[in-house]
Symmetry: C2
């Protein structure tokens, strides 16, 4: 992949036409916000452009996606946004995986699958990069574009909470509000509303909460029957894995998830000096220092006991 | 109360000495952040200054309060921050309730109890005003002051979520980060950590969750025994009152709280067109359109049934 500057990206977008913008499967606010904002901008330049995602776009983004109906573009120039690897394309979008002309992304782990790309792993979100690109291109950002970009930034930063947020991220949010972004409405929609099935799943999971090592280890279980009874979706389990570790005094948070075929999947979150990936390595898994995962094919009791044994002995070693 | 400008506030602070800064009871991030930032600034000018709150300062603010040990100042000039009314002073702080010389606040409902005051109800937080004041005073803001002010802004805006956030709020956050505020650390501490007792209370409360009117009404109960068993504090119930309304499709969220002497206290949160204060008026209570409260002296069952009857009939009228 040829690494290019935002000025070069801008030139390519002015030159080309009939764009198709690809978004990853299970699209999140950053993918949808970046993809739709770019599509709106290209159309505002008189170009033809469509977005494509193999999965349906979640309802919650309709306040800015509704104004970008499909134009049935015959694609000539393929762009990906917020896409670290083409493995994350699904459905119709996957058909373009070897044809990506331009990639705009903020994942340091980007595999370089495109002909040309602008990738900056230090920026909070792909949407923040899109805003800087629009500044270079002197795009007149309207309310819908501002809403799309704001959504990407706020969802990928946990509402300005993460360490990826820079002073420039906040200044960009300020600019977008002045361009019409409905900041409070978007934040409410993205962060203050929960599906009934997610809250039912939380209820079931909290009933399994146990503490070990004097409160330094917190453990929760998600069974298949909890998923069925609550009607929860895969994405509803996201927040749950981080919950046990968020409890005051907890150093190791364990979420054990029952999967098909007698498999138990563990998500381990740690704080401070504890290495989650070292814990998971004992069971053939891996990940990062603060968040890692692994899988076991054992009985529920055996799997749980083995994981706890490793965690507890790791804590004892630290003392 | 004489309404004065930030320039006049600045002049008073340069003229006077031996300051005492009062904070309200159950101090939150904005009270503590504003009070301690102002105290640090006054000391940096070579003045004597102390803070005073009738309640203990919560542990979670120690990362910036630890550097402001009490100086045993003999107070001559009394300042209040983030204090809408002197009814919110308690303990030793209440002794100064008729002696407040200067008030700096962002509550539109400020009762004007001070000799002079700067009150702007359109600003997100008192801490944001403190930052503007420091700019006027040309205070050299150090890392501790930046952390204190950032804490006030982010806690009073639900981490930049509320409609009180302006573009200037985000720009102020950006400035504070550049002055050394540990944005990600603060947000993690304020929003991503929960006490064990709060999570136990959530577990008990979720077990009582019921839906009515086809999912448009959500109801939860907090009993005295749940409070005892979980060891939860009063402040742990804050987030719970907003939980039922946050569930998708819910128009009226009801939290019923068992108090002493056979009293049941209701917190009603609504969305869209539904008037929470009209619901609570039926029982002698009141509040705002989206959040109101009332109290009943009845059996648990009667109190619950009467509240639900009013809510359900209000929803039926809307159809």
């Amino acid at each position: 992949m040829e690494t290019i500057t935002l000025e070069q990206v801008s030139r390519l977008l002015f030159e080309k036409d009939n764009f198709l913008i690809l978004m990853h499967k299970s699209p999140d606010g950053d993918a949808v916000g970046s993809g739709y904002a770019l599509c709106m901008a290209l159309r505002s330049m008189g170009k033809k452009a469509d977005t494509l995602c193999g999965d349906p776009i979640p309802e919650m983004y309709r306040y800015f996606t509704d104004c970008v109906p499909d134009q049935g573009v015959d694609p000539e120039y393929i762009i990906s946004v917020d896409l670290a690897t083409t493995n994350l394309l699904c459905g119709k979008a996957a058909e373009y995986k070897d044809r990506v002309d331009l990639c705009i992304d903020h994942h340091g782990s980007n595999t370089g699958y495109a002909k040309a790309g602008y990738v900056d792993g230090t920026i909070s979100s792909c949407a923040e990069i899109i805003k800087y690109l629009f500044d270079v291109m002197q795009i007149e950002i309207d309310k819908n574009m501002a809403n799309a970009i704001f959504t990407g930034i706020c969802t990928d930063t946990g509402c300005f909470k993460y360490s990826s947020v820079s002073p420039q991220t906040h200044r960009t949010a300020a600019d977008l509000m002045e361009l019409g972004a409905d900041s409070a409405y978007i934040c409410h929609l993205m962060f203050d509303s929960k599906s009934k099935s997610k809250i039912m799943l939380e209820k079931f999971v909290l009933e399994t909460l146990e503490f070990f090592s004097g409160g330094k280890v917190a453990f929760v279980l998600i069974t298949k029957s909890m998923m069925e009874q609550s009607g929860a979706l895969e994405c509803d389990t996201d927040g749950i894995s981080s919950m046990p570790r968020q409890i005051e005094g907890v150093k190791i948070g364990i979420t054990m998830r029952e999967k098909d075929g007698g498999e138990y999947r563990f998500s381990v979150r740690t704080s401070d000096e504890i290495d989650a990936s070292a814990i998971c390595k004992n069971f053939g898994g891996g990940g990062h220092k603060a968040a890692a995962g692994c899988s076991m094919h054992k009985s529920m009791k055996e799997a749980k006991d083995e994981m706890l044994k490793v965690c507890i002995s790791m804590l004892e070693e630290m003392v």
